[in-house]
């Protein structure tokens, strides 16, 4: 079945990303903001691994993240929409906390908002080291009524997330997509920081969804990440390559992906020393 984005999300992407790129005075002679599509994707966006807060030639950080969204976000939204659609055929009962690590322009937040029914209610924490990316994420989230009931906060890294010190049992959904390609990523450190954040939320169940391109380099840190997560008490419920059916102007085609799902039930045993 072809994965279709909800209409509101497709409209949002058209208005906030596609039209802004195409209407820009620099987008002439088949270029996007003055560069060819290939240059935009491979050099300006760097396959998603660029330092977006630095200018690239004449392009500002805002231009670069807009091009990132233009080149890559649709496919990411489709992958996550497919994954969340399988995970949540029914919306969860409790208001979840969604932690989107390497959130880009609110990609995971928008995808899950499209799956959890009309005006879904959840807490969204978007973590991305790029300020320009977070800014675009908030602009996109604020531009749709679908996100009206979603309380949002944005952080540069996991340690900067602020949280009221009330412990609870709310379910947590962590999205770790497209993050583990970074050659500098320390998986043990990432999981350690994540555990610290989860401990501030309380003892609720935690779901970790991972998706990425199936190319080897994109998943270079996955096995270390998976091992550390399982050591921390997470069960691995899916770890595979697969594909989703998508539609482009050229017609219907398959999009391959690597995906994994981890889950740790709510922790009802209080670990005491001694």
């Amino acid at each position: 079945m072809t994965i279709e984005l909800p209409k509101w999300l497709d409209d949002l992407r058209q208005e906030e990303v596609v039209q802004r790129v195409l209407d820009d005075s620099r987008s002439v002679c088949g270029t996007v903001l003055g560069v060819s599509f290939d240059v935009a994707r491979n050099e300006v966006v760097g396959g998603g691994q660029a330092s977006f807060d630095e200018p690239w030639r004449d392009l500002t950080p805002s231009d670069r993240v807009l091009l990132y969204a233009y080149c890559l976000q649709k496919g990411h939204l489709e992958e996550l929409t497919a994954a969340f659609g399988m995970l949540f055929p029914n919306p969860p009962v409790d208001t979840p906390i969604v932690v989107d690590l390497g959130c880009g322009p609110c990609t995971g937040g928008l995808a899950i908002a499209g799956v959890l029914g009309d005006q879904p209610c959840f807490e969204y924490i978007g973590v991305d080291r790029s300020r320009a990316m977070r800014k675009l994420g908030e602009r996109m989230a604020a531009a749709t009524t679908q996100m009206d009931e979603v309380r949002r906060q944005w952080a540069e890294d996991i340690d900067s997330v602020s949280w009221q010190p009330t412990l609870g049992w709310r379910p947590v959904i962590v999205i770790v997509s497209y993050l583990l390609a970074s050659p500098t990523l320390d998986a043990a450190n990432l999981v350690g920081q994540l555990e610290l954040l989860l401990s501030k939320f309380g003892r609720g169940p935690v779901t970790v969804l991972y998706t990425n391109s199936p190319q080897t380099h994109a998943n270079r840190s996955f096995s270390a990440f998976s091992a550390v997560l399982q050591h921390a008490g997470f069960g691995l419920y899916a770890d595979d390559t697969g594909e989703i059916e998508i539609e482009r102007m050229s017609g219907v085609r398959m999009r391959a992906l690597q995906y994994a799902l981890f889950y740790r039930p709510l922790r009802r045993t209080l670990e005491l020393g001694g």
Partner: protein, 368 residues
């Protein structure tokens, strides 16, 4: 791509529920107010009793009124005792000696001396099971005593976030002294409305997460009320009782003189209702049927473990501002006794600025 649904994942977490836990294994359970610890304690003791073909299973707790509640909840096979009475009887039965105590305080048991005598006399556990409720309020020595000389199998319920004294026994101390595994957490509050739970949670500190409240809102915010004098307070409570019915609890700082005076006035105002006062030193708990509708006047120590449809906490200025963690825990414990309505009463003077600041805001606690 193939992923399980979230419901399928959640079903993986087959948690061992207290009542399904093997009856011949020790069990340690911690849980917030309203999570049903006392009811579960009684049910576990009853189940063990049936399994042990009718042998009576002791259930030990902190205060006499809670012991009374357990007696009322008991459907047979359960033997509720306060810790002091239980140890007094049990120690004498096994050693033929009275419990050694401090010279000035017959409640202060000398645990090292008792444990030494029991060890020398080679007294081994002879009861199949012992259930303990409100374990955080019992001394550490009791748990050593219970596990070495009463029963090899203990079920202990505790919540250190509600401990009243500063010298409460920590969960670590209970675990070590009674040789228990890590505790299971009960996570649902079945007692309070969400509005009452929010007021109680305002005073909550500790390491247990805020409980998930299972009840629906009844649309009633807890109220803060100023009363000019005890006559006004008595009229307020009697009107409330006549209008709302149900079980009404009234917590006073001390039963003498406020509680006694209020009790008299309420008896006159409510001649057809049950109106009781529980006084620790009068040992009158057996004449109080706290499960029946009516009015019960009691103090902070005795309200522990109880629940009422409506709860009035009088003399609020004596309980707030909470100057230390023990006082915060006391407010947390007291507020969470209310099922449907919570009323905090002060007066005749104004609350101090510090006391007023210690209370939740008007969106949680309505000012009247």
């Amino acid at each position: 791509m193939r992923l399980p649904t979230y419901e399928e994942l959640a079903n993986v977490e087959e948690q061992l529920e207290v009542l399904e836990y093997p009856l011949d294994e020790s069990l340690f359970v911690v849980g917030p107010p309203g999570s049903g610890k006392t009811v579960l304690a009684v049910q576990r003791a009853e189940t063990v009793s049936r399994w042990e073909t009718g042998k009576s299973v002791p259930i030990v707790t902190y205060n006499r009124l809670l012991r009374r509640l357990m007696q009322l909840l008991n459907n047979g096979g359960v033997y509720p005792r306060t810790m002091h009475t239980f140890v007094w009887e049990e120690y004498r039965r096994r050693t033929k000696h009275p419990v050694p105590t401090e010279r000035e305080d017959s409640y202060a048991y000398l645990w090292p001396e008792m444990l030494g005598r029991l060890r020398r006399a080679r007294v081994v556990p002879d009861r199949p099971h012992l259930v303990v409720d409100e374990g955080q309020d019992l001394p550490e020595g009791f748990f050593v005593y219970a596990s070495r000389h009463v029963s090899r199998t203990l079920t202990v319920f505790a919540d250190e976030d509600q401990a009243l004294s500063r010298q409460c026994t920590t969960l670590e101390q209970i675990k070590r002294a009674a040789n228990l595994d890590n505790p299971i957490i009960l996570r649902r509050n079945h007692r309070n409305t969400p509005e009452i739970a929010a007021v109680a949670e305002h005073f909550h500190s500790g390491r247990l997460p805020a409980a998930d409240v299972t009840r629906e809102s009844n649309g009633e915010l807890p109220r803060l009320i100023r009363s000019r004098n005890i006559d006004d307070t008595a009229v307020l409570i009697s009107n409330w009782r006549q209008t709302m019915g149900g079980a009404v609890g009234i917590v006073v700082h001390r039963t003498q003189p406020t509680g006694v005076e209020l009790h008299q006035k309420l008896r006159e105002l409510l001649p057809r209702s049950r109106v009781n006062i529980y006084q620790h030193d009068e040992r009158n708990e057996n004449s109080t049927n706290i499960l029946e509708d009516g009015v019960t006047v009691l103090n902070k120590m005795s309200v522990k473990g109880q629940e009422f449809d409506s709860l009035f906490i009088l003399e609020l200025e004596r309980f707030v501002p909470c100057e230390n963690q023990a006082e915060r825990r006391a407010m947390y414990m007291m507020c969470s006794r209310a099922r449907d309505n919570l009323l905090l009463v002060y007066g005749p003077g104004h609350l101090s600025k510090k006391a007023a600041n210690a209370l939740p805001g008007p969106q949680i606690l309505e000012r009247q």
